[in-house]
């Protein structure tokens, strides 16, 4: 499955980038996130509950940040597995400074999904992924609003 999209954040690039390195922010933004622990600067451990149509299950896995070029770009590598299958994905995230204290996030990526999630849920995965991205960005917007306004 390929994913692609963009989102406009109303904050300077450094602030947005910093937020993406904050497990508390990410953990709060991702729906169904039950646990997110920072192992070191670029590795996280997470437990995520996912519901795709008739399939709902917990996935536990790792999130790594590689090829970090602060505050321009980062590559996310995700590996998770659970009772309903597995997800492996790579996401390439770019932060474009638009100059007016706004940042355009662009992402492309590919996810490899297996097990029950694929064999029973594939029809719904695209739309679930889309709605998940939408929720994440909405929540991040709120978090950002709070943080940016505080500063």
């Amino acid at each position: 499955m390929k994913v692609e999209g963009e989102h406009l954040f109303k904050a300077p690039r450094e602030v947005v980038y910093e937020m993406f390195n904050d497990p508390d922010a990410l953990g709060a933004a991702v729906p169904g996130m039950q646990k997110m622990i920072k192992l070191d600067e670029s590795h996280y451990e997470a437990v995520l509950g996912i519901r795709v149509g008739p399939v709902s299950a917990n996935f536990s896995g790792n999130l790594s940040l590689t090829d970090e070029v602060p505050p321009e770009s980062v590559t996310l590598v995700i590996e998770g597995k659970g009772g309903a299958g597995f997800v492996k994905g790579v996401g390439y995230v770019k932060f474009e400074d638009l100059g007016d204290e706004t940042t355009l996030l662009k992402y492309t990526g590919e996810a490899n999904i297996g097990g029950t999630l694929a064999s029973v849920g594939q029809r719904m995965i695209d739309s679930v992924a889309k709605s998940m991205f939408k929720t994440v960005f909405e929540k991040l917007d709120k978090i950002l609003e709070e943080r940016w306004q505080k500063n």
Binding site: P54, K81, G83, G85, F86, K88, N112, I113, G114, G115, T116, A118, S119, V120, Q122, R123
Partner: protein, 784 residues
């Protein structure tokens, strides 16, 4: 041949139990003390197993045992070749890599079993999956057939130099020479997609070891109970007499239930013996999609060489056949394809090559149609393409090349699934086709109906194709017929039953021979303690092989009735009359002895029976044909299709079929209608989709669409074109009908869809057409 019962539409004797919920299927069988098995299956299609940790699962209350491949020790070994490849074809290559009961070291398809959990309930057994930690190193999956064939491909079996499972070339005449002489040569690449058998009842298996008597009793919804008995006794080192396989009521077969050497029939008996407890496993629907064998999935590279007038000079078909991760079932399916490509037409030069390839997908074994559909699809489509290229009508090109009744029997020279050179025994192939054209009113459709619809802005299309159905292959089947002292008759056979009306049609044959009421004949199928010889239920062979054996056995019993009665009545045999349920001296009804009494006399409790005489009114008979038979027919379809939605609606369908003599026309029609619905489903709705990682994306009826009542043709006409069977292969003149209906819908429907869009020049090169794929074809020609 017509009797009191034979040839008549007798109502089924088995229905009442089925209709009232009294029939027992595999999941209805409960043995005291039984435990439940659940199989943890791989999420990955191709991976190396690093570690499977089951220690937490063992701690869960209610879990009795958990096994991985390691726990089976030396008992773990690859299964036998259930069907060996034919050795008769010179130069053929076959790499046997047979199914393993549970993955060890390497996972080769998504759904392969990694662990067996035994628990007090199925719910608990499945709960324990969450406790098992599976660590694997995933590998790139082999999915695309043509890429898999290349030397550069990732390997499914590391010890082989390539993914080649088999390479078989057969040729009659010389295609390349014929091509040189041809006026027209047309070449195309076509896809025949992957579909499931999808019986409404999933598979199931119950193994119960009796430690006191040292007997393994097995209930299994298998099409081949004797193969199960053989493999269990071999695997456990038991005598066959120590293994008793019983088939309960079975909720449909359609091919996949013939498969053995799977996890259930290998491991569960072993586990039952270890734990000394009965173990039951019933598959769920997702498991059925993932791990029960399926079929089709071929890529054909065809060439047809013709004279200007449309006469076929030669045909070439090199096709890739997906065997999945293992090839235990040999080459039945692609050999069926090879025999069926040319089995309707005069093809003097034919070159065909099977490229059977291993992939990271579930194993392919026969599903109703079983390679025949693919062969017929390839030929029928090529004729359509050639006709278009040459400006001929699809009807003209078929008329020119279809075999006529006086050309049969005809040896095609191609070796088939029974390892014997194929002979087309009888039938009027051209006559079937002409009858079909009349019934579908072809001329009227072309001249009036279609143009009229066109003026009204409606798109109608017509398709008419011919087909054959290779049936009734050997080696043999048998049965035993016994008259009881009650006068009731029992027939036992090793053949198992999945809804084909065996309990009625075999009884019809016997009832006529013994002059008893049909409801007084009890048929027992698929119980190895009752009858211990036979091959299995497949290839439309029940009516022919078991039916003929029933005839032969009941004829022997009939002879015994006359000889016993002659002695009892004190008259010569020609003075004995066999009335309904009794024997008497001709013209002296008072002398009547009930058949039951005669049966008691044939088995005296005191006195002597003459040397050489077997006691009882009982006989056993076997029947095996010299080669398979070939049913034949034609199908016409008229459909309408909306250009916006691309949803085809089947307005009318006609099938002309020659299945030889019919024991019961009601049952024959049911077989044809069921087969046709499967053919329609295969063409317009069903499709097993694997993604590039070998993940099956259609493992539920939400994504694997089954044909429904509203998807059937508005009118379906069945024409039997076999008033007098010309088949001399067997005494009853039966060919077989189980798969006929499933074969022609594909090419007929596709031809009709092309016809509906004839003005746009749409050319369809695959089966399994969803509205969106038809829409895709339309867009493709519009962009040209």
């Amino acid at each position: 041949m017509t009797g009191k019962y034979f040839g008549n539409p007798i109502k089924r004797l088995e229905d009442k139990q089925l209709l009232t919920g009294n029939a027992k299927y595999i999941d209805d069988i409960e043995v005291p003390g039984q435990l439940h098995a659940a199989f943890l299956r791989s999420d990955f299609a191709h991976a190396r197993i690093l570690k499977i940790d089951v220690s937490e699962a063992l701690k869960r209350p209610g879990v009795v045992a958990v096994y991985t491949a390691e726990d089976f020790g030396d008992f773990w070994k690859p299964g036998p070749l259930q069907v060996p490849p034919p050795t008769a074809i010179p130069g053929s290559k076959f790499n046997a890599r047979t199914l393993v009961p549970i993955a060890k070291d390497k996972i080769r398809y998504s759904g392969e079993v990694l662990a067996v959990v035994i628990a007090e309930s199925r719910y608990i057994a499945e709960d324990a999956f969450d406790d098992i930690i599976v660590d694997v190193e995933s590998l790139p999956a082999v999915v695309d057939l043509e890429k898999a064939w290349e030397d550069s491909s990732v390997l499914v079996h590391d010890d082989l130099p390539s993914n080649m499972a088999a390479l078989v070339t057969q040729e009659v005449g010389n295609y390349e020479e014929a091509k040189k002489k041809a006026d027209v040569v047309v070449a195309r690449r076509m896809l025949i997609e992957h579909v499931a058998g999808a019986a409404m009842e999933n598979r199931g298996f119950l193994a119960s070891w009796d430690d006191q008597n040292q007997v393994m009793t097995i209930w299994a919804n298998t099409q081949s109970p004797l193969t199960v008995r053989g493999s269990v006794s071999r695997a456990l080192g038991l005598a066959e007499s120590q293994v008793h396989v019983i088939t309960p009521a079975i909720g449909g077969g359609f091919g996949p239930k013939v498969m053995t050497s799977l996890t259930d029939d290998v491991l569960l008996p072993w586990i039952s013996k270890q734990l000394k407890r009965p173990i039951k496993w019933v598959e769920d629907r997702r498991e059925n999609f993932l791990a029960t064998t399926s079929e089709r999935d071929q890529v054909h590279h065809c060439e047809i060489a013709l004279k200007k007038d449309g006469t076929i000079l030669g045909f070439k078909d090199v096709f890739y056949h997906n065997t999945g991760a293992y090839d235990s079932y040999g080459m039945t399916v692609p050999l069926n394809t090879q025999t069926h490509i040319i089995s309707n037409y005069r093809v003097p030069n034919f070159y065909t090559q099977i490229r059977m390839v291993f992939t990271n997908q579930m194993v392919v074994t026969p599903v109703r149609g079983a390679g025949r559909s693919e062969g017929v699809f390839a030929m029928e489509r090529m004729l359509d393409f050639a006709a278009k290229e040459m400006g001929l009508s699809p009807i003209e090109i078929r008329r020119k090349n279809l075999l006529r009744a006086d050309e049969l029997p005809l040896a095609t020279g191609i070796t088939g699934q029974d390892f014997v050179k194929n002979t087309l025994d009888s039938g009027d192939y051209l006559g079937n086709f002409e009858k079909c054209l009349q019934a579908i009113e072809y001329d009227k459709f072309i001249k009036e109906t279609q143009p009229k619809a066109q003026k009204e802005g409606k798109r109608l299309g017509i398709g008419v194709v011919a087909f054959t159905e290779g049936t009734a292959v050997g080696p043999y089947e048998g049965c035993k017929v016994t008259v009881s002292t009650s006068g009731k008759v029992t027939m036992t056979t090793g053949y198992s039953s999945q809804g084909q009306a065996h309990y009625t049609v075999f009884a019809q044959i016997i009832a006529d021979q013994l002059n008893v009421k049909v409801e007084d004949v009890k048929v027992i199928t698929g119980d190895t303690n009752h009858f211990a010889w036979g091959a299995g239920t497949f290839a439309s062979r029940g009516a022919t092989l078991v039916g003929t054996a029933a005839l032969l056995a009941s004829q022997k019993v009939r002879a015994k009735i006359f000889s016993t009665a002659s002695k009892a009545l004190g008259v010569p045999e020609d003075q004995v009359e066999l009335g309904e349920g009794s024997v008497s001296i001709k013209g002296k009804p008072d002398s009547a002895i009930p058949l039951g009494t005669l049966a008691a006399m044939a088995n005296p409790m005191r006195g002597v029976i003459e040397p050489g005489v077997e006691p009882g009114l009982e006989a056993t008979a076997y029947y095996g044909p010299p080669h398979g038979s070939t049913g034949c027919g034609a199908m016409g379809v008229i459909l309408s299709i909306d250009e916006e939605t691309c949803k085809p609606v089947l307005e009318k369908m006609v099938i002309v079929d020659d299945c030889g003599t019919m024991i019961n026309p009601l049952i024959v029609d049911g077989q044809l209608q069921g087969g046709i619905s499967m053919g329609i489903g295969n063409t317009l709705y069903e499709r097993l989709v694997y993604d590039e990682n070998g993940q099956l994306l259609t493992a539920s009826f939400m994504d694997y669409l089954m044909p429904l009542a509203t998807d059937m043709p508005k009118k379906l006409e069945i024409i039997h074109n076999h008033a007098e069977s010309s088949l001399k292969l067997n005494p009853l003149g039966i060919k077989g009908v189980g798969e006929a209906g499933a074969i022609p819908p594909g090419p007929a429907i596709v031809q009709a869809i092309e016809d509906a869009f004839a003005d746009k020049g749409v050319e369809i090169l695959e089966t399994n057409l969803s509205p969106s794929s038809i829409y895709g074809y339309l867009k493709k020609v519009e962009h040209k």
